[in-house]
């Protein structure tokens, strides 16, 4: 379970991120017209992530090869790709909302996995689940600390009035 959620899915997601340059520039420009401020892409990625966070989906992907195939296709294509595609276009506020929700999700899932008396996935043991819960809390805490540090002391070239506004930062 830990391996699946914290290794496999992130790797698949990364694969999606690497796919962006493969897409023809024309197509990307087209899509950008439907993705003002990166909102559509981030919403798509969020929804797809929500689906793969359901214990049921994770379970099914280890028992049903069709679902597994779906996972191998959709995590890169519906999460990684739109994320990487839309992120540079997202402004401060859109990113802020997304990151807040992202961090909150780690805390929620971590908490859930720690306290759930039942195994949420039939294919994984309770110990595994609780260990994953702890990892997720640590990851959430780490992300939060990193964000706080960045905001407090970091460098935001893109937001300074001199540089071109809207560039990734």
């Amino acid at each position: 379970m830990t391996a699946q959620m914290l290794v496999q899915i992130p790797l698949l997601l990364m694969a999606g991120i690497l796919l962006v340059p493969v897409i023809p520039t024309r197509l990307r420009a087209r899509a950008a017209r439907w993705d003002q401020g990166g909102v559509s892409g981030l919403v798509l990625a969020t929804l797809a992530m929500a689906f793969w966070m359901l214990p049921r989906s994770l379970d099914a992907s280890t028992t049903d090869p069709l679902v597994a195939l779906a996972k191998f296709l959709t995590v890169p294509l519906l999460i990684g790709l739109p994320l990487a595609f839309s992120w540079p276009r997202a402004g401060f506020i859109v990113r802020g909302v997304f990151l807040t929700e992202f961090v909150a999700t780690f805390f929620r899932l971590g908490w859930l996995y720690r306290v759930s008396p039942i195994r949420l996935c039939n294919n994984y043991g309770l110990g595994d689940q609780q260990r994953l819960g702890n990892y997720m809390l640590w990851i959430g805490g780490g992300l939060l600390a990193w964000l706080a540090l960045k905001l407090l002391a970091g460098n935001f070239k893109s937001l300074s009035p001199s540089s071109s506004p809207g560039a990734p930062g």
Partner: protein
């Protein structure tokens, strides 16, 4: 933000984005709804229950089994009775003992209908490698489940076990200490051989109530 790049098309781009986002949200939420049986079943375990309630599946009636006395039988032989089924392995020191205690208690509480041959309790082992009729017998005596109302059995073949696990929705994973991790529940099979309900460990009262309701009607 203050994107200047596609300045000309900005208003239409906003409009398109809004349309697309709303569309994605609708599709997405609907999709999640379908994937969770209308936001009811987030885990495989609940999904299994929802599915059983909605559409009781027939259990494999022809899988050859052998019981604690070495007698061969199939689930078809039990038709005509209400059967409570659980899945265990006899060396289990954790939830299987809870299941065992539940069954022992139920056997006592339901003594009357059991005596009338209207109810049967059946523990099926999934540990084909180690469990034998003798192990099953000692498992039963451990819980004082000596009477004919509670039987234990092992499938004779791997294929038979797989069909049973599939029908009842049992997932068994070997742990690293020679044991297994598995989901535990009490399954109710009706006299026509359909799986009609699934209960959690410890839900003895609900099991009894359901049976009493069925037997009275």
């Amino acid at each position: 933000m203050m994107t200047t790049s596609d300045h000309m098309s900005a208003p239409t781009a906003v409009l398109r984005t809004v349309v697309l986002t709303v569309g994605l949200l609708l599709v997405g939420v609907a999709g999640l709804g379908v994937a969770t049986d209308g936001f009811h079943a987030f885990t495989t375990e609940t999904a299994r229950r929802v599915a059983v309630h909605r559409n009781p599946p027939a259990v494999p009636a022809t899988v050859p089994l052998v019981n604690q006395d070495g007698v061969h039988f199939t689930l078809a032989d039990l038709q005509g009775k209400w059967v409570l089924v659980d899945f265990v392995y006899t060396r289990c020191m954790t939830i299987c003992t809870v299941l065992g205690a539940d069954f022992a208690q139920l056997e006592r509480e339901l003594a009357e209908p059991i005596a009338q041959d209207r109810i049967q309790l059946l523990s099926i082992s999934f540990d084909l490698a180690r469990d034998t009729p003798a192990e099953l017998a000692s498992y039963l005596t451990r819980f004082r489940g000596a009477g004919p109302g509670w039987q234990a059995a092992i499938p004779l073949t791997d294929d038979g076990l797989a069909r049973l696990e599939d029908a009842f929705g049992i997932t068994v994973i070997p742990d690293k200490m020679g044991g297994y991790t598995h989901n535990a529940a009490i399954h109710l099979v009706d006299p026509t051989g359909r799986l009609v309900d699934i209960f959690d460990l410890g839900q003895r009262d609900q099991v009894r109530a359901a049976l009493q309701r069925e037997l009275a009607s």
